[in-house]
Subunit: 323 residues, 3 copies
Amino acid sequence: MSKPPAERTEQLRADGSLRHLLTLDGLSRGMVESLLERAAHFSRPFNEPAARSTALRGTTVAIMFAEPSTRTRVSFELAALRLGADVVNIEVQLSSRRKGESVLDTVATLEAMHVDGLVLRDAEADVPDLVAAHVADHVSVFSGGAGSYSHPTQGLLDALTVLQHKGRVEGLRVAIVGDVRHSRVARSAWRAFSLLGAGEIRLLAPTALMPDTHDFAGCTRHDSLATGLTDCDVIMALRIQKERMTEADIPSEREYFAQWGLTIDRLKYARENAIVMHPQPMNRGVEIDSAVADGPQSVIRDQVRHGVAVRMAVLEQALVRQS
Amino acid sequence: MSKPPAERTEQLRADGSLRHLLTLDGLSRGMVESLLERAAHFSRPFNEPAARSTALRGTTVAIMFAEPSTRTRVSFELAALRLGADVVNIEVQLSSRRKGESVLDTVATLEAMHVDGLVLRDAEADVPDLVAAHVADHVSVFSGGAGSYSHPTQGLLDALTVLQHKGRVEGLRVAIVGDVRHSRVARSAWRAFSLLGAGEIRLLAPTALMPDTHDFAGCTRHDSLATGLTDCDVIMALRIQKERMTEADIPSEREYFAQWGLTIDRLKYARENAIVMHPQPMNRGVEIDSAVADGPQSVIRDQVRHGVAVRMAVLEQALVRQS
Amino acid sequence: MSKPPAERTEQLRADGSLRHLLTLDGLSRGMVESLLERAAHFSRPFNEPAARSTALRGTTVAIMFAEPSTRTRVSFELAALRLGADVVNIEVQLSSRRKGESVLDTVATLEAMHVDGLVLRDAEADVPDLVAAHVADHVSVFSGGAGSYSHPTQGLLDALTVLQHKGRVEGLRVAIVGDVRHSRVARSAWRAFSLLGAGEIRLLAPTALMPDTHDFAGCTRHDSLATGLTDCDVIMALRIQKERMTEADIPSEREYFAQWGLTIDRLKYARENAIVMHPQPMNRGVEIDSAVADGPQSVIRDQVRHGVAVRMAVLEQALVRQS
């Protein structure tokens, strides 16, 4: 597991406005609430046209993903395009890294080309931080997922989804289920929900996939769905990878589903009106049953919808020139 | 060979306007003619600037190609851009499918991001149909080529090319030459030309590459260029693949050319003013001689030019909001 | 090494304006100065927003790179977008070439789609020339780097960088260091600096990496940094590739650095206010020490900045319709 960066780069400008978004850690509740409010403004029902503005006309956003991710890449790209920005996509493995160029030289290059915003995704937790610590004053850095440490826009979209369905996060009981240990989604959700006053955040995982005890401060821990889901308002299933099952001594996807798969029957442990979330892509029949994923309590597609809105709010807040 | 879908998804809205374009099968002659008329409006001579409009400003088109195709991908991309749409490209193999995500989950994701139009190309004949059967009401699906079954915008651009050169399709004698059996181009051309009243559609192919007898209803079949090209107005050469030659017991590209290659000499079987078409990419010296491909009867580059115009007409018709 | 094309395609229109940019060879000093003046107009300090215009609204630029290059590709892409053009990216290896399609058929296709400008990069020196010799009158071709022969926009950005730092090229002493033999960057810089009246252009290289004697007319040759850097105003370090070291009988990167690496100490041979350039990507600790690359005399990031400005000037000059 990648380690969190030892020292955090300052994410705010002197006037308190957001400059970078690398992690939700250290952001004030006011800042998060203000981003979510703006994201709600950009959020539209499924059957209505997307929200658009010209706030970023004349601005350039470069998207550099070193890990494949259709969902997050396209979500950032649409967010930037719908604000009127120019967008360039850069495949990191296939281009400069192949020539042995360092990430920082690539970033310095983009900066010199007057790129205003850099969206970075990397398997290494500290790449976005490293970049943010070195970019010029006029450049903002956005994490699109960093190692197992942070995925801040995912945390925000999860929070917006809960807010829109429950009216509040305050006081709610949240269960995060699965490979919590290696999940940047879980970490960012935990930060977002904590900041917004969740009543209880429960981690439900096989022992080997439970995070270290000092990690996820304030969360309670459960070793079965039966105990952990009881009376929950929000259930967040996580994607499980084959190699993690092996680590947890679970011999097959079938066995994982038997122990940890979210089914209609198990949903009944939670509150009747509990909502079910998943960051996607889903392993249907492994961590979640299709009947749950596509069922009435699922808000998984709302998460995607809110993802674009949250990224619009973040890009707008950081990139609109104050002058 | 992929089988055609058993049941067709409805391509029209309740008011009779085009919603999806998956196949030309089932479209009325009026609808096809109206699309071609609009495409003619978007078509420009080679040396004039491309046609443009702002009809799709505020609209998002996602292009998902699971098979490589510069020509068709760029043609759809330019058509969308020139109508003012935002466009995102998604490489299917390299991204979500690699993680085992299903096509439908990917599509549901794009839909939730307020993508209005999805252009899909897949080696499986039924993928665009499958997707169209599941998307939300506000989303349109366009096939950019599906298995060996359908390539509807290719059929339309072939029809437009004939119309512009011959003034009509009605009554013309058309020869389709080569691997007809596995060709979605041939199938879509056959449908377009039939609908528009072609006088005779001939299939010219080695026995092994001739379609099954129940397929290509109404076409006549010829086992040599000499008999098949006689008195034709339109000759459409098809791309041949190495493995198909083997199937047809033709030992080499050279031998294929000797038997089935379109040469200046063989062109003489057809009418003096016959036009020659090819969907590209061409195997020069295999299914077509360069002297023919680049000669005065070739309209191959017009096909490309009309391709953008036809895709503009289709995207505009399906995606302009009626409200 | 690829050979330069035997016969040059005419790069100018009948009225003397720039149509293609394939090489600086044959351009007049007045044309180069006029491009650099326009590029200076588009150049902005690091902390100011990028220059923009709508000069290319309604114009389409296709970028076809057969060699990976984030820097040059993104630089051309941003230049085109910031002039208001539509841009499509085409990965040559992954798409049409894979099907055996010839470059000329691909280009004829793009031309028929009303692409106005083609930016080409290829390991073969004559590909852009070949394409330019065959495109229709309304299409312009721009080399983004061709074999070891030519990289004209790189030559222009190098010249602009010298002009902005030294006020002139006239009379300056320039040292080009490293694998000159295989470097299109060196060739294009040599042409640009010669045309603008540089006082002396020195080539510093191990014998095996020195160009043939008939090549680089008018340059002096030096076999050590000690003799070659003395009293220079401009030092241009070149990227060295592992296989070229082997050719030059230099056993390791460490040994190359010992003999040919640009260090703070060696900089002292040159003039006190000498500037240091590198086309990137850099092999830090091989051809250049980080203390030099990031030091006060380095203008490497200015080169990148000027790269976008130069490409805007070139695209604008060639693609704005005169009508």
